[in-house]
């Protein structure tokens, strides 16, 4: 038990908690900046080019911050959690590619009458990622 006490017992939990909180904050900031960049030009500043460009740049900066935070989060996970995440990401990327191209093809060959939306693909990828994470946790339970 002495050996356990000698070690910084909560190091993994603490680091994980900090990384998760950081990722949450960056994701919220990016989502908010995207919403501002998407809707504010119409409702707040009447498509002023300078302000719109500033909003886009701010959104990109927050996006990069979120990506770096996500990388730090993933690197902070232990090896099994990392494997679950990477498996889920691989699945999500594959499904996104196959479903995305097929979805686009449907419109090209007139099987659907509406324009394919990128948002639909993002939703599919998010759901696949979530499903992959749940399946990964169940696999190692």
């Amino acid at each position: 038990m002495n050996k356990l006490k000698q070690m910084n017992a909560d190091q993994y939990k603490d680091r994980n908690y900090q990384n998760t909180r950081s990722l949450r904050n960056w994701t919220m900031a990016w989502t908010l900046s995207m919403a501002i960049a998407a809707f504010a030009p119409k409702y707040l500043w009447d498509f002023n080019i300078i302000i719109s460009m500033a909003a886009i740049i701010i959104s990109l900066v927050f996006g990069v911050g979120m990506l770096l935070s996500n990388r730090r989060y993933l690197r902070g996970l232990d090896e099994m959690q990392q494997r679950i995440m990477y498996d889920a990401m691989g699945l999500s990327l594959g499904v996104g590619l196959v479903v995305g191209l097929t979805y686009d093809l449907l419109e090209d060959i007139k099987l659907i009458s509406f324009q394919p939306e990128i948002a639909h693909l993002v939703i599919i990828m998010c759901l696949t990622y979530l499903g992959g994470i749940i399946a990964g946790h169940r696999k190692f339970q």
């Binding site: 356990l4 017992a9 232990d78 099994m80 959690q81």
Partner: protein
Amino acid sequence: MKNRLKVLRAERDWTQAQLASALEVSRQTINAIEKGKFDPSLPLAFKAARLFDMAIEDIFQDEH
């Protein structure tokens, strides 16, 4: 790969959470290793060996 992690932990009266903290992994990972559902990497296996003051092969054995 078989391992004696559960037995060694029980002999020392450690919980999965305590062992997880000492090895800097999650409790779920310790549980998966003990059940043989996840094979640890060499660095993690060495870390466990150092913690238990044992050789790696005394904790982890190849099933083949």
